[in-house]
Symmetry: C2
Subunit: 114 residues, 2 copies
């Protein structure tokens, strides 16, 4: 029910730039800070900071290769994040359904009474 433990993963994917970065890394099969920044509206340094955040929570990992630094998505960790997203979504969805059921019950009761 609670989302307390997973706030780090959440806030990691909560940033629009970071979500687009994950998209780019997934579709491009990895990338560097420079290549990513060319496809994003921010500078290389900003991308590097975001990559640091994603790296810290384990969503990506880096492979130094010569003067480049190739980043790739950790698929298992991203799968975990996706699972948590759907978990929260499912919880809210369930509560919304319950509220709707209760509201309908109240309305039925009022119609019977009135």
């Amino acid at each position: 029910m609670s989302t307390a433990i997973d706030d780090e993963l959440w806030s990691a994917v909560g940033d629009p730039i970071r979500r687009r970065m994950l998209d780019l890394l997934l579709s491009g099969g990895g990338g560097t800070a420079t290549t990513l920044s060319e496809q994003l509206p921010v500078t290389r340094q900003a991308v590097a900071k975001h990559l640091g955040v994603l790296d810290r929570v384990g969503l990506v990992h880096a492979t130094p290769s010569g003067r480049e630094r190739l980043y790739e998505v950790d698929e298992a960790q991203l799968a975990r994040a996706v699972a948590q997203l759907s978990s929260v979504g499912a919880a809210w969805d369930a509560r919304l359904r319950r509220i709707k059921r209760i509201a309908e019950a109240i309305q039925r009761a009022q119609e019977q009474q009135g």
Copy 2:
């Protein structure tokens, strides 16, 4: 595929405190800045700011009542947000599946060849 349009809703539910506020509002059937702040680790003013954010994106709406100001969740808008969460989750999930399929295909090809 893209999440560009819905960044506002995303970032609204991207904050852990705001998610807990939505939870509290849903389970408690509404609340004021004061009552919410009593159940959260931040001050009333911080809660009020968050309520302002949630109000701006339409996830909650306020009902002035005397000297109080009751906030309630806009269920339709929250349902929209949930849909977008699952949408992004599903997109990533699909891409992860595709990557896994391709990786397996490559491995099969290598086994045949080697």
